[in-house]
């Protein structure tokens, strides 16, 4: 096998062995202080101009990973390199400057907009914060941005609750993009919208990417949306990456049993389609007390003693295809 992972096209961001633990309340008065393992050793690269989809079930740590990548919370260990610079250890000034390089689009657009400020004031706010241009310039920039996200100008004076969900999300995107970031983390950005509006916003994101050369980290639990927009997809399970591959490859040829279950759970818009579903039973293990070996072994149909005791390495298995499973090769032949 050749090792294409070493030939790196412009890597915008490198995440290395990122770990984030949250201390949570004790068991009783004198019990042990418990720790939630939200992100448990994640490494991935984000290439400039690409969209990396991040899928996984609720509570698997994908949103935490998004916040870590933006350095909105601090990791327990590990590093995030943005253009080669470690952003987990920055001083206040650098951190502020980085805000104009990376931004976040939220799941619930109404919650992400201040209910007491007009849309115009909120889209303009990043420019005011970073003192970009004089007031007249700022107004013009706002109008340009508004056009870019296809919002009509008369909405500037409106309040967030007077807009539709799709308009709100476009306003949130406009606010995030107005200072010209390189990276936009979309945390479930379209999950709260209707399917038709979802499509509009996803297409808008794709257009903006082409126009502005943005990179997206697109976090979602909805594999069908992620598939549509992403060039590569990473699958997360209980704080770890279990599989990372080009999106078509991941959909067509999933290696990890969890990915397979996820993909077969995507509804097919054909009532007569009879697919053999790789369903899984049970619940994900408790993040306070992750299992000793492979996090997935308790629900995996292929698990054996090795899985129970040894944490599988996240390894290269094909060109641009990484997986964390002891039996990936064997499984690849069975399917």
């Amino acid at each position: 096998m050749n090792k294409p992972a070493n030939i790196k096209p412009d890597v915008l961001m490198e995440v290395r062995d990122l770990v984030c633990h949250f201390p949570v309340k004790r068991d009783g008065l004198f019990g042990k202080r418990r720790v939630a393992h939200a992100v448990n050793g994640v490494s991935l690269d984000l290439i400039a101009g690409e969209t990396l989809g991040l899928v996984g079930k609720c509570g698997c740590g994908k949103s935490t990973l998004g916040l870590l990548v933006l350095n909105l919370i601090s990791p327990t260990s590990g590093s995030v390199l943005f253009r080669g610079q470690d952003i987990t250890r920055t001083n206040k000034k650098e951190w502020r400057r980085l805000r104009s390089e990376m931004q976040l689009a939220f799941q619930n657009p109404l919650g992400a907009l201040n209910p007491r400020r007009t849309i115009g004031a909120q889209i303009r706010e990043p420019l005011d914060i970073h003192q970009l241009g004089d007031p007249a310039d700022r107004h013009k920039t706002v109008l340009d941005m508004l056009e870019a996200v296809t919002l009509p100008e008369h909405l500037l004076e409106r309040y967030p609750h007077q807009l539709s969900g799709g308009q709100q999300q476009r306003a949130v995107i406009a606010r995030a993009l107005i200072i010209g970031p390189q990276l936009l983390v979309c945390d479930e950005s379209v999950s709260a919208l209707d399917v038709s509006v979802q499509a509009q916003v996803v297409n808008l994101l794709a257009d903006l990417q082409k126009k502005l050369g943005l990179s997206y980290l697109f976090i979602s639990h909805d594999l069908s949306v992620v598939r549509h927009i992403s060039s590569r997809i990473a699958v997360m399970y209980l704080g770890r990456l279990v599989e990372l591959a080009d999106s078509e490859m991941l959909i067509e040829n999933p290696m990890h049993p969890y990915t397979r279950a996820l993909i077969s759970a995507v509804p097919v818009p054909d009532p007569r389609a009879r697919t053999s579903r790789a369903t899984i039973g049970g619940e994900p293990p408790n993040p306070f007390n992750p299992p000793s070996g492979c996090a997935f072994y308790s629900r995996c149909p292929h698990a054996d003693d090795k899985c129970r005791s040894l944490i599988p390495e996240f390894r290269q298995i094909g060109p641009q295809h990484m997986v964390a499973c002891h039996h990936a090769e064997a499984l690849a032949q069975t399917s």
């Binding site: 909105l72 976040l104 907009l113 400020r117 990043p126 914060i129």
Partner: protein, 305 residues
């Protein structure tokens, strides 16, 4: 004819209701149409404020002027009353109307300043607690619990008995009353607001803490705090009345509504007007402020428009 009709049609599209007079339009602009109780309350509060500020211009007698030949004269609307003393005289022959005007002024002054002190102090401490968390929050919330578990009137009596009595001290004491309510309210609302995505959003845009509180958190919790203040204001006025009634509040020759009420209690059977009139002024004032506060809460919420 037809143009007229289209005109009316266009008008009714803009304004769903039928044409109002000038007053009606003014009421509508303030969101008051149909809110007769609120309108009456606002008018009453306006009148009280006017009397408090400019009442001394219409004061018929100095409020301390005694007339021992005219003690306990009933007001004009009772049998034996005269226009000389419209609201009658008290046990020393002092004009009740003049005393009401003077007393009102001090009561309103103490009520407003006291409320502002409590609101600013309490909200500030609440925000500090919510911002720093940790031991700062625990200490402040413990103080709140101490304040809640202590009957305030005992606290006020103790302070006034030990520190002595002056108008400044009285205002500070009644101002401290209720700080813990603002503190709790502000703390919990700031904690909620800090969890909101819009605060996270502006934080991730690089906005500093001070600006976040000034521009995003405070405007969103201000409405509730103002309503809390309007709920608290009657309490402050009543507290001052209570303290004056107990003889620990405003000292003669100064006078306040509570003090007039307290002295008038002794003559309740013989000369009910001395106590009843200031009592009614306080009652309607607190009722009006509470009514307006309730209305204000709805007005201040843009999502309810």
């Amino acid at each position: 004819m037809s143009t007229q009709q289209t005109n009316t049609a266009a008008q009714s599209q803009d304004e769903p209701r039928i044409r109002r007079g000038r007053t009606g339009a003014l009421l509508a602009r303030w969101g008051l149409s149909g809110e007769w109780l609120v309108t009456a309350a606002l008018i009453y509060i306006g009148f009280i404020l006017f009397v408090a500020v400019f009442g001394f211009l219409f004061q018929p007698y100095p409020h301390t002027q005694m007339d021992l030949f005219n003690q306990l004269q009933p007001p004009v609307f009772m049998q034996g009353g005269s226009w000389e003393h419209i609201f009658g005289t008290d046990e020393l022959g002092r004009d009740v109307l003049s005393r009401l005007i003077r007393g009102l002024r001090l009561s309103v002054l103490i009520g407003v300043i006291g409320t502002v002190i409590g609101a600013v102090l309490g909200s500030f401490l609440g925000i500090v607690a919510a911002h720093f968390r940790g031991w700062v929050e625990e200490v402040l919330m413990m103080l709140v619990d101490v304040q809640v578990s202590l009957p305030f009137i005992i606290f006020a009596l103790a302070v006034l008995a030990f520190v002595g009595n002056s108008l400044t001290i009285l205002i500070i004491v009644v101002g401290i009353d209720g700080w813990e309510r603002y503190a709790r309210l502000a703390r919990s609302m700031v904690l909620t607001a800090n969890q909101q995505d819009y605060v996270l959003a502006v934080r991730s845009l690089g906005l500093g803490n001070f600006r976040i509180y000034q521009r995003h958190v405070l405007p969103n919790i201000m409405g509730t705090l103002i309503v809390q203040a309007t709920i608290n204001l009657p309490g402050v006025i009543l507290l001052e009345s209570t303290l004056s009634f107990l003889g620990l509040g405003v000292q003669p020759p100064m006078t306040s509504l509570g003090q007039i009420l307290g002295v008038g209690r002794d003559y309740l059977i013989l000369a009910p007007w001395i106590a009843v009139l200031p009592g009614m002024v306080i009652f309607f004032l607190t009722l009006s402020i509470a009514t307006v506060g309730d209305w204000l809460r709805d007005r201040l919420d843009p999502t309810l428009k």
